[in-house]
Amino acid sequence: MNRYYMNNANNIAISALTNRNGIKQTIRHSLTMAYRGLLKVRRTPEQLIDVTLQPILFTMMFGYLFGGAISGNVHNYLPLIIPGILVQSIVTGAITIGVQLREDMEKGVFDRFKSLPISRIAPLAGALLADTIRYALITILTFTTGYIMGYRPETGIMGILGVSLLVIAFAWCISWIFALAGVVGRSAAGVQGISMMILFPLTFLSNAYVPVETLPTALKWFAKVNPVSHLITAIREIINHGVISQDFWLSVIGAITVLFIFAPLTVRAYKRRA
């Protein structure tokens, strides 16, 4: 439709005005919006600092801090902590979407998007797409830091690629929770606050850093049901032993459940506001 419209501007016959976008246009618009997201990252690379520094800093800091105490030495601790930090960093990366969406929706440029004959969902879909690049970056940095510190996973490059895909898909699914916070939140600072409140218990009260058995009963219970723990366990088993365990399926089911609940909620809330 839009193509026809443009032709019209050059005085070529047009077909008809339609009241909705096709799926092809929706995908095109979303890709353009993702491109916009990436351009913005290129313009302000500092917005990547938190997510890029965290995996490097945390891997080295916690690796050298806890390595001796928990696993006897740093080298033995790495197979345990690298998956933990990978998941924690990627979940941290996932919350950015909410803050960014909120900031975007408050700006004048959003009015223009709303006044253009584009798919209503494109700005949201585009932001989520652009975020996969962020997740990929986090994954690469975590494994690189681990490699430098001496981590050589059993399953080699195939294992790394496999868990990278898993963790990126997981992050993408749960980023819908934070996207919802961004869409319904009233200010970027508020969204940041709420997201942090969700983020910290989820990531720290898990098996990311310490064996769950060392925790007090209540915490132990939470850490065991925490979906983040399941994902971390799944990754450890795949990358260190080449085993696809029950935890893998639990994480996949958990992520898909989140997706199926929060994606429609977010889209609905978003459409009402956009």
Binding site: N8, Q25, L39, S115
Partner: protein
């Protein structure tokens, strides 16, 4: 010019608004507006801050849903056929609706792509618009380094990518310096010569007078008057003749002459300015000749038509927004 209009339900009526209402909590921002805007004109929506202009435009541009009433763009309902309406309009908001973090060319490229242009067409269109709006040199600079005028120009350029047959300009010159304002006015006039319809909101009375073919005056969410600029001015009263003499002592004599020719009572102010209502401009010549024949010398002479400031005051019975009063010397027009 705009072939797309032949596909619309009503190519001749750009905007039709009937009983439009929008509440925000207790505040009734738009309180039952009716408008009919024919295709091809510049339509001015004039009103002070908070009169409901922006809310009305946002409803017409499908950004806000009306609570009551309906609005149609070329016959298409803004609520039910929003997507079609969006293909027919361009919107330049009160606050520049461009991406602050990107450069001018990146902004235009992305909007072009979103509007369905191929990559190479989008690049071409971007270059074309940058050139047209005098932004080529600044194209790669981030917008944070842009002046207010450059931002507005970019904003307007972005609204014109798809050559929409109807363009909304929400206070296009608020905050611009006088020179940039006049540039903007010329750009707006060119839009209409290209066959577009322009709906312009403004709180500057002279801007509406300069640009618009037709003006609706809005106050507190209601249209309180509409007509051509001259109709609005005429509704307040006729023009008046103002004279000041070199020799004050002859004021009464001059007043007598004026009265005999214009057949109305004149008025002499404390500063010695003689004012008399002027129904027919032809009579000025007679007055001036009679004064010359009686050897009465003039220090000043002027014919004043009422300014839109006066129109606004006369219609609403209260003063327009405070800042307009403060800017009086720049906004009032003396013909």
């Amino acid at each position: 010019m705009h072939q797309i209009l032949s596909l619309t339900k009503n190519p001749l009526l750009a905007v039709e608004v009937c009983g439009l209402v929008k509440h925000f909590g207790d505040n009734c921002a738009v309180d039952g507006i009716d408008l009919k805007i024919p295709t091809g004109c510049i339509y001015g929506v004039l009103g002070p801050n908070g009169a409901g202009k922006t809310t009305a435009i946002r409803m017409l541009a499908t950004l806000t849903k009306p609570d009551k009433g309906y609005a149609k763009i070329f016959g298409h309902d803004v609520d039910k056929e929003g997507h079609i309406v969006r293909q027919l309009i361009g919107l330049t908001g009160q606050y520049a609706s461009v991406d602050e973090k990107l450069s001018a060319s990146e902004n235009l490229f992305i909007f072009s792509r979103l509007l369905g242009l191929s990559r190479s067409d989008a690049r071409k269109k971007t270059a074309e618009l940058l050139e047209e709006f005098g932004l080529t040199e600044a194209a790669k600079r981030p917008l944070s380094k842009f002046s207010g005028g450059m931002r507005r120009r970019l904003d307007l350029a972005a609204s014109l990518i798809s050559k929409p047959p109807l363009i909304f300009l929400d206070e296009p010159t608020t905050g611009l310096d006088p020179r940039t304002r006049i540039q903007m006015w010329n750009t707006i006039r060119n839009l209409v010569s290209d066959g577009s319809t322009v709906v312009l909101t403004t709180q500057y009375l002279d801007e509406a007078d300069q640009l618009a073919d037709h003006i609706a005056v809005i106050d507190r969410g209601k249209v309180i008057a509409d007509g051509t600029p001259s109709q609005l001015k005429a509704s307040v009263g006729a023009a008046s003749l103002e004279l000041k003499l070199n020799d004050k002592t002859r004021d009464q004599e001059a007043k007598q002459i004026i009265q005999s020719l214009l057949l109305v009572e004149g008025h002499i102010s404390g500063e010695g300015v003689i004012t008399a209502p002027l129904a027919d401009p032809e009579l000025i010549t007679d007055v001036l000749l009679a004064l010359r024949n009686n050897n009465i010398q003039l220090a000043e002479v002027s014919v004043k038509t009422p300014t839109l400031d006066e129109v606004f005051l006369a219609i609403t019975g209260h003063e327009a927004a405070k800042n307009e009063i403060e800017n009086k010397d720049t906004v009032s027009i003396s013909n």
